[in-house]
C-alpha cells in the first residue's frame, strides 16, 4: 500500500494576489524565526492581515495544536514530539482513532490501482488530500450529470412524480 502524503509544507497562502493575479505564498520562516519562537494563536484566530487564505473550522483547535511553534515546517504531536509535515496520518489519528483504524484496514479513504497487491500497488491518499486540514468537513459538491432516461424529464427539470 502506498499512501500519498503531502511532501512538505510548501508555502502559506497569504490570500494576496500578485500583479499577474496568482496567489502569493510565503514560507513560514519568512516571518517566524525558528530561533525565536513566538506564541501561536490559540483558538483558530487567524491573523486577518496575513494567513488570509486560511479559514479555520476544526473544532476547538488552534494553530499550535498541530504546528510546532519552534519549527513551523514540522507538525507537533500531543506529546510534544515533532514530526515531518508528511506524517499527517500520525497527527490526525491522535484524535480520529477509529478513522485511522478504518483507513489502515482499507475501509476509509479512496485509492487507485490494484486490489491484488501481488500484481501492483494500491495508491491511497492521505487525510489532507480529501479533508482541508484547517476546515476538514467535506464540502458540498455539484454531482455529475444524471442519466437521460427515455421516459424521464431531462436533467435540471422537474422530477417525474411516482404516484
Amino acid at each position: 500500500m502506498i499512501v500519498r502524503n503531502p511532501p512538505s509544507l510548501g508555502t502559506v497562502d497569504t490570500g494576496l494576489r500578485d500583479a499577474m493575479g496568482a496567489s502569493v505564498g510565503v514560507s513560514c520562516e519568512t516571518c517566524h524565526d525558528p530561533a525565536h519562537p513566538d506564541a501561536l494563536a490559540r483558538k483558530g484566530e487567524v491573523p486577518q492581515d496575513f494567513h488570509g487564505g486560511i479559514s479555520v473550522a476544526h473544532g476547538e483547535l488552534g494553530c499550535a495544536s498541530c504546528h510546532a511553534p519552534e519549527d513551523r515546517t514540522r507538525l507537533r504531536l500531543a506529546d510534544g514530539t515533532t514530526v515531518p509535515m508528511r506524517e499527517v496520518l500520525q497527527l490526525c489519528g491522535q484524535c480520529h482513532g477509529p478513522k485511522l483504524r478504518d483507513f489502515s484496514k482499507g475501509s476509509h479513504g479512496g485509492g487507485r490501482g490494484f486490489w491484488d497487491r501481488s500484481r501492483g500497488p494500491w495508491v491511497r491518499d492521505s487525510c489532507v488530500a480529501c479533508h482541508a486540514a484547517h476546515a476538514p468537513a467535506y464540502p458540498l459538491v455539484m454531482p455529475a450529470p444524471p442519466p437521460n432516461d427515455r421516459f424521464l424529464p431531462r436533467a435540471g427539470h422537474e422530477e417525474l412524480a411516482h404516484d
Binding site: D102, K105, G106, S107, H108, G109, G110, G111, R112, G113, F114, W115, D116, S118, R119, G120, W122, C130, Y138, L140, V141, M142, P143, A144, P145, P146, P147, N148, D149, R150, L152, P153, A155, G156, E159, L160, H162
Partner: protein, 299 residues
C-alpha cells in the same frame, strides 16, 4: 399414362411446401451484410467456443469496431482467477451522491453518450427510509442535500440470481468468481432478465450506442465493456476486464469519498473482509433470497 394418385399429389405438395419453408428459413443467409457476417450468424455460445474460434471472434469484433466506428480497440477474454471470489461494499455514511462512480462507469464501459447511461444508478433517499419508490435518481443540485442520503445501486452479482434463472437461451450466467455475465452475441433481447431483476440493474440497448471514436475505451473484454450491439441486455460486470487483472473497478477508483471497498472475499486480510467482519453490513431486499455479493453499511 401414369395415374396421378392422391398419395403422389399429397407427397408432391408436401415436398414443395417443405422446399419453400426451407428456402424461407435460409433466407437470412441471402441478406448478410456488413452488419451480420456468416461467421457471426453461425457463432456458437461463448462457453462452447473452442480457443481457436474464440480467438477468431475476438479479432472479428476488433475489426468490426475499426470498420464501423473507426476505433482501434483490443478485445480480451479475461477468465476468473482461481481462488478469487469478488465482493463489494459501500459505505453509505460517506457517500455524498456526487455520481462520480456513475460517470466513471459511463466512460469505462463505453455507454451510449446521448442517454448518459451507466450501470450505476444513484438514489437520493430520505434519511431514515429505505423506500426506493420515493427516491430520486435525477437530482441535480449540490450534494449532500439536507435530510438526504445517497445509495448507488448497480448489479449486486447475486449468488442466486433471478436474471440468470429466467434467461430462455442461457445467454447470461454466473462465473466462478461470482460475476454474472452476458454473452451479448447470444442474447436475443427478450428482456426477461431485466424484468426479473429486483434491483433494476439491467439495461436494454434500444438503439445502437453512439460514441465518438476517440472516446471509445480501447481496453475491452468480450464479456464486459466492448460496445454492445443494439437489442441486447447489458449490466455491471464488476469491470472484469480490470478486476481479473488485479485492478480495482473504475467506480471504486473514481469515488472521491472512499465509500467503495472492493476485493477478494476469500482473502482474510482484504479490506472487503475487514468490512464484512467489523461493520454492520446489509444487502438490498434480503428477504428475496437472491444473496447479493454487494453489501452496504453505515458507520
Amino acid at each position: 399414362m401414369t395415374e396421378v394418385t392422391r398419395r403422389a399429389t399429397v407427397a408432391g405438395l408436401g415436398a414443395t411446401l417443405g422446399a419453400v419453408a426451407f428456402a424461407k428459413a435460409m433466407e437470412p443467409l441471402r441478406h448478410f451484410t456488413e452488419d451480420l457476417s456468416l461467421d457471426q450468424f453461425l457463432q456458437r455460445h461463448y462457453r462452447e467456443l473452442s480457443p481457436e474460434d474464440l480467438e477468431r471472434v475476438l479479432r472479428r469484433i476488433e475489426e468490426d469496431t475499426l470498420r464501423e466506428r473507426g476505433a482501434h480497440v483490443s478485445v480480451a477474454d479475461d477468465r476468473p482467477i482461481p481462488g478469487v471470489q469478488f465482493g463489494y461494499a459501500l459505505n453509505l455514511s460517506v457517500c455524498n451522491g456526487c455520481r462520480k462512480c456513475a460517470e466513471a462507469c459511463h466512460h469505462e464501459n463505453n455507454h451510449d453518450r446521448s442517454t448518459n447511461q451507466s450501470y450505476i444508478r444513484v438514489f437520493e433517499m430520505e434519511q431514515g427510509s429505505l423506500d426506493f419508490e420515493h427516491a430520486a435518481t435525477h437530482y441535480d443540485h449540490a450534494v449532500p442535500a439536507p435530510g438526504k442520503y445517497y445509495m448507488p445501486v448497480q448489479c449486486l452479482q447475486c449468488d442466486d440470481a433471478p436474471c440468470v434463472a429466467v434467461c430462455p437461451v442461457e445467454a447470461t450466467w454466473k462465473e466462478e468468481d461470482g460475476i454474472v455475465v452476458i454473452d451479448y452475441d447470444w442474447c436475443i433481447g427478450c428482456r426477461y432478465c431485466e424484468a426479473a431483476c429486483p434491483y433494476h440493474a439491467r439495461r436494454f440497448n434500444w438503439s445502437e450506442p453512439e460514441i465518438e471514436a476517440e472516446e471509445i475505451n480501447p481496453d475491452q473484454g468480450y464479456l464486459s465493456n466492448r460496445v454492445r450491439p443494439k437489442g441486447v441486455v447489458e449490466k455491471c460486470h464488476f469491470c472484469l476486464h480490470r478486476t481479473r487483472r488485479g485492478r480495482l473497478p473504475a467506480c471504486a477508483e473514481a469515488c472521491p469519498t472512499g465509500a467503495r471497498v472492493f476485493g477478494n472475499l476469500l482473502d482474510p486480510d482484504s479490506p472487503i473482509r475487514w468490512v464484512l467482519d467489523n461493520k454492520r453490513v446489509f444487502v438490498l431486499k434480503e428477504e428475496l433470497g437472491t444473496r447479493p455479493r454487494f453489501f452496504y453499511f453505515f458507520d
